[in-house]
Symmetry: C2
Subunit: 320 residues, 2 copies
Amino acid sequence: MKNEVTLGIDIGGTNTAFGFVDVSGRCIAESSVLTKAQNSAENLFERLYPEIEKIYSGISENYILKGVGIGAPNANYYSGRVENPPNLKWGIVNVVEIIKKYFDVPAAITNDANASAIGEMLFGAAKGMKDFIVITLGTGLGSGVVVDGRLVYGADGFAGEIGHTVYDVNGRMCGCGKQGCLETYASATGIKRTVIELLEASDKESILRKTEYDELDSKMIYSAALNGDVLASEAFEFTGKILGLKLADAVAVTSPEAIILFGGLALAGDLIIIPAKKSMEENLFHVFRNKVKIIQSGLPEGNSAVLGASALIWNEIMKA
Amino acid sequence: MKNEVTLGIDIGGTNTAFGFVDVSGRCIAESSVLTKAQNSAENLFERLYPEIEKIYSGISENYILKGVGIGAPNANYYSGRVENPPNLKWGIVNVVEIIKKYFDVPAAITNDANASAIGEMLFGAAKGMKDFIVITLGTGLGSGVVVDGRLVYGADGFAGEIGHTVYDVNGRMCGCGKQGCLETYASATGIKRTVIELLEASDKESILRKTEYDELDSKMIYSAALNGDVLASEAFEFTGKILGLKLADAVAVTSPEAIILFGGLALAGDLIIIPAKKSMEENLFHVFRNKVKIIQSGLPEGNSAVLGASALIWNEIMKA
């Protein structure tokens, strides 16, 4: 008898990765194509499908495809559409309809952070949890909120935008047009902005003074902090403090068991988790204190996004 | 054939009201007893039960009791317990267990705001909605969050404490021990504190200057604002602005279709709704703009809490 797999597709600004994933979260085979952000969605799938078929032909003797899950920026689970993704010249396009031209199995789409949340629930750090929040700390800050074992999509399918809750109405300009959104502080770009501010505000020695503005990234800040750079450590403290404050607000809404940090900046581990946890506890309503864990993603770093996308459709299949 | 009713019990600091409510939300018969906050929970139910029996005997020829729903401060739906309610000397007590000594029907308990949310969903302004938030503006600020037709209880049963999200970490002292919680601004006591601050900060004429501190309440502020008192109007503007900002944060988490305002201060209607809506829109992430209504409760003022408590158990019965 053949084993069941789902196809997870993660559409990013540069690469579109995909993989065939079994019910235990094991990726059987995977590959990727260039997204070519200037081209249409149709063009991407015209190039992607042959590559998928090629990889599938290598495993189809032992595996049968049960569904297709897609993670993409600005994707709406309800409509199947991707709506004006910031990094792709797609406008509004129904990706689930396109997928159905190629595959005769169930398909579903959601944004990257929501896919990560379902991935953590099925295969990662949230296994066995019913109430948790995944925060993705990448270029921006995404989030996926799970309540009673179900992802929260909300009235319009766009729930879970904790990155755009407001830390400071007079704060940093956000790409979304507002000021002081959490993601302008707690994200890879946010911590870079913090370092620049700290460099400007003091004359503390720092290895980061020797880096060009354009070159500076969150990995360098992480390395510097690990090597005892005081200014880099301060940047993590500041980032964690703001993140913790806004996590306390989110906890007051849905009362999760844990917050799971995912993505590039989350790899800094305790450097961000310890100040975030301290600040969250200080700002939590007393009934929630010492109950809510902040932990790192339990998904393997390399193909976590593909696992998340496959988990989205595994989750549908299991419910059905 | 007899019609089905549930018993809704609303336990307040002063009175405990109850009523028999049919599936359409009509209250068939109701009464109340004094809570006597210094006495035990057992004592309350010893006094309450005979009164309930008396009222029930008047309708039991035509009605049959199907369940008991209770709304109480600091009540936990999962455990059935009330835990250290601020206004009652009860400590921790399992109210559902007490109820079961008297009634051989299903029983459930939750806090007042959650009961109101289910009441709005079954009988009030949220009929037909699947995603909404009820905000109760009384002495404090309570909230009940509904996602996909189900009340959010969270990991520990205490979800929906939007009153204790943080507006200003250096702001007003809150009864919970933190500073700057939303309820220190957006509540009956919050707007009173705002009026006192405004009276102190300016020498604007105001009818409210002629009121003793202890006498001043949100109804007077409402009347003054209706009569054109500029300072009272400013207090509503300020209250609505802060409420709207924190509602925008909550919308980003669960993406509700509407926010429903309930309780004393909500009776001010447009005086609070208009500035709250304006501020919410200004602070919403763009995908949510012009989608989320702010509306007043659709439950009758007099026995809305009893209807909410009865709705809690109606909702259980319907699910079963």
